[in-house]
Amino acid sequence: MDKVIAKEAVGALFKDGQTVMIGGFANHGNPKRLIDVLVESGARGLTVISNDSGDPDYTTGRLVRSGQATRWICSHVGMNPEMGKAVAEGRIDLELNPQGTLAERIRSGGAGVGGVLLRTGLGTVIEEGKRKIEVDGVEYLLETPLRADIALVHARKADGCGNLVYRGTSRNFNPLVAMAGRIVVVEAEEIVPIGSLDPDEIHTPGIFVHMILAND
């Protein structure tokens, strides 16, 4: 039952061409240690799904600089000038999504929802290439689910079952990403004994979580 595993075992998960989802928002609440492991793994040709592309030196931004990401689905890249350059030079294929649409697409991927109808982006470039569906005379865009081969999550606390508790705005995309990975790997500031979390304080039930990176 205990899902805690060593760093080496996490590193071995990453392969060229994978889709990797990463929690966090504007360099807060990102799984920094797992990103370290991903960078060290050297896996290339990655599709990254995350809220933003971080700073060049920090968090998700490292995957721009390292050249490991070749496709990126996110809502914001403004903190990372290297992303602009990589996109301009054709090294990264960037797909921008409205932030709430991105969140809902990830949730859909995890929740067995085949698509959601949203009004966000109607009449903007977001429409391009998307199906429009009318319900009761109102027009919506059909937004499709997102899943990942591996999802990387940062939590405040984890128990050995994979139950997670987040803190403050570091929660952000982490609980969504935790639902949508075929393999979900967590780093937690603290790994607590099974039974020490109240069932009602748990934000992410352990069923979604496959592995927890051991703390040193």
């Binding site: 039952m1 949730r107 991927g109 995890g110 929740a111 067995g112 929802v113 128990d159 050995g160 079952c161 139950n163 639902m179 099974i194 039974g195 979390l197 069932p199 009602d200 748990i202 039930p205 352990g206 069923i207 979604f208």
Partner: protein, 217 residues
């Protein structure tokens, strides 16, 4: 009779390994809980993973009940959540299995277990469970109280799900639902192939090697 049900429950419990999360339906499926290995965890669709036995008298808590409104105990590592998350778990393919009873089940893997003529009940979470769980295990006594087969060529009652069942377990056999039809995986000791086929209203496929239920259980 009770032995029959316990046999079925014991067979099904062996399908699951530690780390699996399973949803057990009301009735016969509930008995499976008595035989699962430590580390197999149970999901109840009203919003909890990690429940255990019925609590001792006097320790019942109205805030911890199962989908059948029965009191449950809460094991270490349990997590509670709302109905939206509960069915995100179900539909999203996160359950290793659901174990459900049947009124009828057929060789295509169709299941009918929610609607009988003249009785208004509702499907509850059964349709979601059969659509989402990785493995859909139907447990049922092989024949109904009149001695008629419950395993059919085609269900006649309103379906819970179309082509969703992966395994059928009765006191007489364990069947795998495959693209070719119902493959006999295990049979009760001493039962002949002809006897089993005679009690089943769908064509059974008997492969070269068939386990004995006595050994399986």
């Amino acid at each position: 009779m009770s032995d029959t049900k316990e046999t079925i429950a014991r067979i099904v419990a062996r399908f699951f390994k530690p780390g699996d999360v399973v949803n057990l339906g009301i009735g016969l499926p509930t008995l499976v809980a008595n035989y699962i290995e430590d580390g197999v965890r149970l999901h109840t669709e009203n919003g909890l993973i990690g429940y255990g036995q019925t609590p001792p008298a006097g320790q019942e808590d109205d805030d911890f009940t199962g989908a059948g409104a029965q009191y449950i105990s809460v094991l270490p590592g349990a997590a509670s959540f709302d109905s939206g998350t509960s069915f995100a778990i179900v539909r999203g393919g996160h359950l290793a299995a659901t174990v459900l009873g049947a009124l009828e089940v057929d060789e295509l893997g169709n299941l009918a277990n929610w609607s009988l003529p003249g009785k208004l009940v509702g499907m509850g979470g059964a349709m979601d469970l059969v659509t989402g769980a990785k493995r859909v295990v139907v447990v049922t006594e092989h024949c109904n109280k009149k001695g008629e087969p419950k395993i059919l060529e085609r269900c006649t009652l309103p379906l819970t799900g179309a082509r969703v069942v992966t395994n059928i377990v009765t006191e007489l056999c364990v069947l795998d639902v495959t693209a070719d039809g119902l493959v006999v995986h295990a049979m009760a000791k001493g039962l002949s192939r002809e006897e089993l086929q005679a009690k089943t209203a769908a064509r059974l496929i008997f492969p070269g090697s068939i386990e004995e239920i006595a050994e399986t259980a």
